[in-house]
């Protein structure tokens, strides 16, 4: 069973793949070699509404049955609660195309693996309202987390939080030196709390700024991926802050431009030397064209440049 979601700006994609062994009972139904795998989408709010209160679910629900009734166009979720009470929800669904972000963790230059607890304890230092955070590698194999501050912000009025994690806090570190990426912390928090609750180690695959960062959780019966767009590291005098990396790519149609809004405005990252304790400064980046592939985060229905993607 695969559950996937993408946000409206197409800058975040999540996928949960449950192996049959995850369930007490798994019957994929009659799908011959010729029949297409069944795919549908349901309203997130409706789906979440069924699992509204986690503590009360834990207390009163014994079993959950998920049943797909394609002919009735209903996804049935049945909760078997204590005292013999049964709650049945019949959700309307829509058939849909395959939702898949194109990414390849093998192609990522850097990889970090840590118990979720380590990252959760690190992230707790940042305010809940913080949008973006920068993850970087420094001397001595140290890994840094720093809140991302826009260049326009007044230096005297902004608070910067930076923390360093030693290499031995991680289960594995294989990173390109001096690399860093900036991604949306808010979206990451969701996955992090799931990882913590399920006690699974988290692997972070990343590459150059602008290329998506992929967070994975691996278990024998569960495979989780979270793909987030990262801030691209462009310096371009000809670009206005509101433009995205589109100008560097083969001329796409307007629809593509909408989807690529997720690639945030190109900015130069620069660091002055800090007078405080040894904290590495990120090297000034020389401008170079973004290599972000427009198909990286598109839905995969024969994504051909110039073809408008399937609009939801």
């Amino acid at each position: 069973l695969s559950l996937r979601a993408v946000n409206s700006s197409r800058s975040a994609f999540a996928s949960f793949l449950f192996a049959p062994l995850f369930f007490q009972l798994y019957e994929p139904g009659s799908a011959g070699p010729d029949t297409e795998l069944f795919r549908c989408k349901v309203h997130m709010k409706s789906f979440l509404g069924i699992f509204r209160s986690l503590p009360s679910l834990e207390k009163s629900v014994g079993k959950c049955l998920i049943l797909l009734k394609p002919r009735a166009s209903r996804l049935v979720l049945q909760l078997h609660c204590k005292y013999g009470v049964t709650k049945t929800h019949n959700l309307a669904f829509q058939e849909c195309e395959r939702l898949q972000a194109v990414f390849d963790t093998q192609r990522c230059a850097s990889r970090l693996r840590a118990p979720a607890r380590v990252l959760a304890e690190a992230v707790v230092h940042f305010p809940l309202t913080l949008a973006e955070v920068t993850l970087g590698t420094g001397p001595g194999g140290k890994i840094s987390l720093r809140n991302y501050v826009e260049d326009e912000a007044e230096p005297s009025k902004t608070m910067v939080t930076e923390l360093w994690l030693a290499e031995d806090e991680f289960q594995s570190v294989a990173v390109a030196p001096g690399s860093h990426i900036t991604f949306c912390l808010k979206e990451f928090r969701g996955l992090l709390s799931f990882a913590e609750a399920s006690n699974l180690p988290l692997t972070i695959h990343f590459d150059e700024p602008g290329r998506p960062v992929v967070f994975t959780l691996d278990d024998t019966v569960l495979e989780v991926h979270l793909v987030l767009a990262t801030l691209s590291d462009l310096k371009s005098s000809s670009q206005s802050p509101s433009t995205n990396g589109v100008s560097h790519l083969p001329a796409p149609s307007d629809d593509f431009a909408d989807d690529l809004e997720s690639y945030m405005a190109a900015m130069e990252t620069s660091e002055g030397g800090s007078g405080g304790p040894p904290s590495p400064t990120f090297p000034l980046r020389t401008p170079r064209p973004a290599e972000s592939d427009p198909e990286e985060e598109e839905e995969e229905e024969g994504a051909v440049p110039g073809t408008p993607p399937h609009k939801k």
């Binding site: 309203h43 009735a72 209903r74 013999g84 009470v85 709650k87 049945t88 929800h89 019949n90």
Partner: protein, 281 residues
């Protein structure tokens, strides 16, 4: 502690006069039926009944027997008046709604008769508040003609099992459908909202089911907005009885135990929804 109010100047006795050591015994019950601004109070020697109605479809009654009061006397055969329930509740809780252990508001209620206001004397910690609430002409109340001989289906459930269900009812659904049957699904609550339909089934052999007397399969729909206020009564109660008659009229009776362990009742009556469309599953 109770205290006596001065007798009326003319030397007549009050039509209704009552004392209550703990005003909460009255206010919590009245809150359970407070879904409209006005209520009709009806007092006889047996006690006080407060009725609230809406849309000519729903009626809630709160019963406070004479035994709950420290003092309760009704001069005529019965006394009836209409009053603002919102104002009455505000007065009864004038010393605040939070209940500190050991403290309680004492109440004395006096009503001279037709045309006179309802007088309330409330005391807590030596501080006395006097309230005078205007009364109005009582309006005719709905008679659901619901008596035990006409009941087709009846169940008694422990409130604990229904509380969460009622609090989480899908309010995007216009109706709450209640199915009662001697066969499966036995007792089912259904909603048909924007997300789709939802069914809550209680089997007849559930631990929550104290009594199950269903002779006929009945499915009736009621406007959810009318029944939602009954959640308050459900929250206070320990047991609830659900009964329907041949016309599909619904009676919900809630057994409420107050702080002193005394039992009071609140009941809701509701007409079935006339706009019946085919139930989707």
């Amino acid at each position: 502690m109770p205290f006596s109010a001065p007798p009326p100047a003319s030397g007549e006795r009050y039509a209704l006069s009552a004392s209550l050591d703990n005003a909460r015994h009255l206010s919590s019950l009245l809150r359970a039926v407070h879904f409209q601004d006005h209520a009709t109070c009806f007092a006889t020697a047996s006690g006080l009944r407060v009725t609230v109605e809406d849309a000519k479809c729903i009626q809630a009654n709160a019963f406070i027997q004479a035994e709950i009061f420290q003092e309760f006397s009704v001069q005529e055969e019965s006394v009836m008046f209409r009053i603002s329930l919102s104002v009455l509740l505000d007065c009864l809780t004038i010393f605040g709604t939070s209940s500190l252990p050991g403290t309680s508001t004492a109440l004395r209620m006096c009503y001279r008769g037709y045309g006179y206001p309802l007088m309330l004397f409330l005391e807590e910690g030596g501080v006395v508040t006097v309230c005078k609430i205007n009364t109005q002409e009582p309006e005719e109340l709905l008679d659901f003609d619901f008596c035990s001989t006409k009941v087709v289906n009846k169940i008694i459930l422990q409130s604990e099992g229904l509380r969460e269900a009622f609090a989480e009812l899908d309010m995007t659904s216009e109706v709450l459908q209640i199915t009662m049957s001697p066969d499966k699904p036995y007792f089912r609550l259904s909603t048909f909202g924007n997300a789709g339909s939802a069914h809550l089934d209680y089997p007849r052999d559930s631990d929550l089911m104290e009594a199950f007397h269903c002779s006929q399969t009945q499915t009736n729909r009621y406007k959810i907005s009318l029944l939602k206020p009954s959640t308050k009564a459900l929250a206070l109660s320990c047991k609830v009885s659900v009964r329907t008659d041949a016309q599909g009229f619904l009676s919900l009776q809630y057994m409420i135990r107050n702080e002193d362990g005394q039992i009071c009742f609140v009941e809701y009556y509701c007409c079935p929804d006339e706009n019946i469309t085919e139930a989707e599953l």
